[in-house]
């Protein structure tokens, strides 16, 4: 158990370009997992170790999460690197699911930007305790004090300095540790040697003041510390314990600072991870018992209990599929049998490894709390593995519905095969990425969470699978919904020799805000025999895929049947399914269907001088601006904008603001398309279908 208590599963999350890959790289260097330091956009052509995909190396961004392992002062740390771009939300969310704590990196110049807010919101949703690291204190314009204010104001954190910088911008030379009240300098060619010294005299007053703030905040989480402060003897151990209590309970965010690039402050962050972030037993986890109607079952970080493990990430390697697992309970050893809950299939554990980015270390076994990888296991991302007859599944992750799609077609035969392989792989890796063949056009359609999301997969197809494909224009995922109640009374009757078909259904359809589809059976006296009711339901459901207004899927409908008729010889399941289809068609148009479109919550952040231009650009896109927030020289504009209007917005915003503003968006809701646009949409679709018929 002592060993598990010294384990940390942490994520490093941040806004893109805040330097998380650099920090991870430095952590791996100082923990002696790598022996040289590279830059992210590697001038030396090597690239940071955590960026495992070629594409990421080229773009200097991290897309896929990779788990890597290191050791620091007797603690084992699994680092889950997470992407910073909001279009890859599922990657972030999946990583958050398996981590016990996180380091939130903030840029000391840019501060808390819109993407940091999105990432922080996700961490809140998964209840991940975090410490903050204010990076890039060596850059011109660095202001960690402003960033801490933003952490409090914008993110609502009870943020408290654990350190203060010695100098800033090009003058940054070290940090003052407010617990030990010592100055720390990072010397040697790569900052390997931490030299402790006295606080520079000019900083003593400020250090005292900030330490007071730290003690005030920390004492809320420890009576012992509070007493010690009254007795004027707060020891470092008491302070650490109090800060840890506050952090683990997510009521306190200790703030570290430095410059990963200049190797200042990284070792202190590692100490912070060990001291303040939780170990696996400190975090409550639960599974769902499939045999007991998915009742929640608490899991124990106990290596002797039956296994419960979650596959949170799949990766293709030259040696086969690699499955990243978080073991929540029990132990997994080489040669063990574990069961894949989804299929009930037993799997023999072959090669069990611990990953260090692209290198690996073979293991004979792994225990509860750990993150490891398996080779050669056929499964999907999000699958649960168990042993000892447990029929558990880890609670399902929040998976948003895709909002954008585009058609792709291979340029040649070889690409056709490779494209299929790639799609098969991506669908397993990412639940927000879908792929299907449109039955009418015969085109392959991919759908996902945003333009960039799909763009990255198209590029991966080209690079990793040598599939050359051409893509169509992005299409928004429209829906249809009825707006009023309409009655139906439909009889399906066919007599073509032999036994006939007869079924009559009566009832009504009405709008429902509760669910996408609801079926209510109010048949009394068996006028429709019970065995045919599921067939009626099936008939209605079959109509939902394609609404009669414009052929978009139908949502928000409640169907109630309250009367009908059957025939002792001619009624059948098929007859009642057909009757329901007829009833749907009879009532649907009467129920005044409208078209719904996805509306995104958009947040644009940029220098205040551009407020007018940004507002104008949103207004032109049928956007509804809900607020504008001034913070220092920056303005953040929050708006609700239809997705259909957001195509190409990144380019427009760049040119409007000289590249100084940025935006994030995430799905908010479906809203009714205005009547004029709805007519336009209808005309376009009619034109398209006529064109297709001609060709």
């Amino acid at each position: 158990m002592d060993e598990i208590r010294k384990l940390r599963n942490i994520g490093i999350s941040a806004h893109i370009d805040s330097g998380k890959t650099t920090l991870t790289e430095r952590i791996l260097y100082f923990t002696k997992r790598i022996f040289a330091i590279h830059e992210v956009k590697g001038k030396d052509g090597v690239g940071a170790t955590m960026d495992s995909m070629e594409l990421e190396k080229e773009r200097g961004i991290t897309i896929a999460s990779a788990a890597t392992h290191c050791e620091w002062k007797g603690h084992r740390i699994n680092i889950i690197d997470t992407p910073g771009h909001v279009d890859f939300t599922i990657e972030v969310e999946r990583a958050l699911r398996v981590m016990d704590g996180a380091v939130l990196i903030l840029c000391s110049v840019g501060g808390v930007q819109s993407q940091s807010i999105t990432v922080d919101r996700q961490m809140k949703r998964y209840e991940v305790p975090r410490i903050a690291f204010i990076n890039k204190c060596d850059r011109a314009g660095a202001d960690p004090y402003k960033v801490v204010d933003q952490l409090r104001e914008k993110l609502g954190h009870n943020a408290v300095f654990m350190q203060i910088p010695i100098g800033l911008e090009s003058e940054l030379s070290g940090i003052v540790d407010l617990v030990s009240m010592k100055a720390l300098y990072f010397e040697g060619p790569n900052g390997d040697e931490v030299r402790t010294g006295e606080i520079p005299p000019s900083m003593v007053d400020e250090a005292m003041l900030k330490r007071e703030e730290l003690l005030d905040a920390a004492s809320m989480f420890s009576d012992d510390l509070m007493e010690a402060i009254l007795e004027e003897n707060p020891t470092p151990d008491l302070i650490h314990e109090a800060v840890r209590n506050g952090t683990v309970s997510r009521h306190l965010t200790p703030v570290f600072l430095g410059s990963a690039y200049k190797n200042i402050g990284v070792q202190a962050v590692l100490d912070g991870i060990n001291r303040y972030l939780p170990s696996p037993p400190d975090v409550k986890n639960a599974a769902l018992d499939i045999d007991r109607d998915e009742a929640e079952v608490p899991l124990e970080t106990d290596p002797d209990k039956p296994v419960v493990a979650l596959a949170f990430k799949l990766e293709v390697t030259p040696y086969g599929q690699l499955t990243y697992l978080r073991i929540y309970q029990g132990s997994i050893g080489k040669g063990d049998d574990i069961t894949l809950t989804r299929t009930g299939r037993k799997i023999k554990v072959g090669r069990l490894v611990r990953m260090h980015a692209e290198q690996m270390e073979d293991l004979t076994s792994a225990k509860a709390g750990d993150i490891v990888a398996l080779f050669g296991v056929d499964c999907y991302s999000g699958d649960t593995f168990t042993s000892g007859g447990l029929n558990y599944t880890m609670s399902s992750m929040f998976v948003p519905e895709p909002v954008i799609s585009l058609s792709i077609s291979p340029e040649d035969n070889k690409s056709q095969t490779n494209m299929s392989k790639a799609l098969n792989r991506f669908v397993r890796e990412d639940p927000t990425f879908r792929s299907y063949v449109d039955q009418e056009s015969g085109e392959t359609i991919i759908s996902g969470m945003g333009e960039l999301h799909l763009e990255v997969y198209v590029e991966r197809m080209k690079r990793e699978f040598s599939a050359r494909v051409t893509t169509g224009m992005p299409q928004v995922a429209y829906r249809e919904a009825i707006t009023r109640r309409a009655d139906f009374d439909y009889t399906h009757k066919k007599q073509t020799g032999g036994s006939g078909q007869f079924g009559r259904v009566t009832g009504f359809m009405e709008p429902s805000e509760e669910s996408a589809y609801e079926f209510v059976n109010q048949i009394k006296g068996g006028v429709i025999p019970t065995e045919y009711i599921p067939a009626v339901d099936k008939g209605f459901q079959s109509c939902l895929n394609k609404g009669a207004a414009l052929g978009f899927p139908v949502v928000g409908m409640k169907v109630t049947i309250n009367d009908g008729k059957s025939h002792s010889v001619d009624s059948s399941e098929l007859a009642f399914t057909q009757a329901a289809i007829g009833a749907f068609k009879q009532a649907y148009i009467k129920a005044r269907p409208v078209i719904l479109e996805p509306v995104m919550k958009v947040s644009v952040e940029g220098p205040s001088e551009f407020q007018g231009s940004i507002m104008g650009s949103i207004n032109q896109r049928r956007g509804l601006i809900t607020s504008s927030t001034e913070d220092g020289d920056f303005t953040t504009i929050d708006a609700e904008v239809p997705l259909a209007e957001m195509f190409g917005y990144a380019t427009v915003l760049r040119s409007l603001t000289q590249g100084r503003a940025e935006f994030t968006m995430e799905f908010l809701k479906y809203s009714r398309v205005p009547r004029s646009l709805s007519e336009e949409l209808k005309a376009n679709l009619r034109g398209k279908s006529r064109g297709e018929k001609k060709s």
Binding site: K146, D149, Q150, E153, K154, S608, Q611, G612, M615, G616, N619, L624, I625, T626, S627, S628, T629, E630, D631, G632, D638
Partner: protein, 231 residues
Amino acid sequence: MKDFISVSPLKVLERSSEQILGPGNLGVLVARAGVGKTACLIHIAFDKIFRKEKLVHVSLEEGPDKVASYYRVIYHDLLKALNVEDDHEYRELLERNRMTLAYINQSFDLKRLQANLRNLTERLGFRPSTLIVDGLDFEETEREVFEELKKVAGEFEVEIWFSALSHRHITETSEMGIPYPVHKLDDLFTIIMQLQPGQTGIFLKLLKDHDGYSVPEGSMRLDPNTFLALD
């Protein structure tokens, strides 16, 4: 929401000489901490919004999410209190007619406010009739700022409502009985109201009404939970 307008705290103005604050004018709600200044200001906002007028909520302390959540909570209480089932139309009015301008970390200044209001008008065609300013510290703000705000009210043809925090231990008043901290600013404010807790509810008192200081019958009782008019 006709029902709401008939029980809105702004109904107290029916007892005033002109029945409204009016464009170009400043109004203030004075109360001690915790009595419900923000809630009452939001009720004033609802009154305007449901009359299909446009409103800008200027927040000097909280970010827009917090402001939106205050509105949400009060709105739901309102629906419950008035027994409204289908609120589709009101939700739409609220979405279309309210805008939040937040100034956090001491970012507020008059030039910025003017630029922001100009952007709203010119870029979005959003022409407010009312500004709600919440969180302005009357004790720390110079008289000149209020003079300038009165000019802003004139320039943009808006009425501006403020909230001012009074203290139990400071009993200073102006000659005309206007309490601290508005006592030296009363010439700049067209309407001054005070929110005071009492045994049978919260009382909204009209202390100054346009040119008149003593307002006969200028007091109204509010429900302490919903802030809706009881009398």
